[in-house]
Symmetry: C2
Subunit: 121 residues, 2 copies
């Protein structure tokens, strides 16, 4: 385990974190999760995929009901997976579905500071 | 390693994920990170703290420049840490600081779906 980091990046410099902050009405969350799983299954078979966790707010009053945090080997691997035809087709279907009111803010991130219980001084 | 999960929660049922989605002008991000570290140091000494990672957007055009993802042993441990006098004092100082235009959306989450490269079928 590393000591408490300051400006350091994760152990593997090339790794990127994809975070998608999702606003969706509380009553549509269950349906959205079902559709998310289908897309995540496709993404999880792509080269460079590491892991993906969909977080749901404990309270239905939380502004961002869902937050997806995923890790990829590299920026390039993530971009290649995003352009997968089957994934693209499902994204278009989601955008065209007028019954789901989703506002998503997907972006790539890097870890700029981290603290771990194990390395506490 | 577990197989690809569907509705299952993380291995430790009581664990909670705290996510803070932060909007801050790109030119104020560095200053905000410095202040965040001071608060995170306090939180990391609290009972029940597991880890905390501050993510910064790769692009300065990303809406949410910072996303903090932390894990706690329980909802109760997180609440107790939040009420720590020194942490509360720093939060009030941040709120009173008119030079920082921050919009934060902190909330508790649970993992509702997850995929891992190791368990790919």
């Amino acid at each position: 385990m590393r000591s408490m980091s300051q400006d350091s990046k994760p152990a593997d410099d090339a790794t990127v974190t994809f975070i998608n902050v999702i606003e969706v009405p509380a009553e549509q969350v269950d349906m959205f999760i079902a559709q998310w799983r289908e897309r995540a299954k496709i993404m999880s078979t792509a080269p460079g995929f590491r892991d993906s966790r969909l977080h749901r707010a404990v309270s239905s009053k939380t502004r961002f009901q869902l937050v997806n945090v995923a890790h990829w080997d590299s920026h390039q691997a993530w971009e290649a997976a995003m352009s997968h035809p089957e994934f693209q087709a499902r994204m278009r279907a989601l955008e065209d579905d007028r019954s789901v009111e989703v506002s998503a803010s997907p972006a790539l991130y890097e870890v700029v500071a981290s603290y771990h219980e194990e390395t506490r001084m």
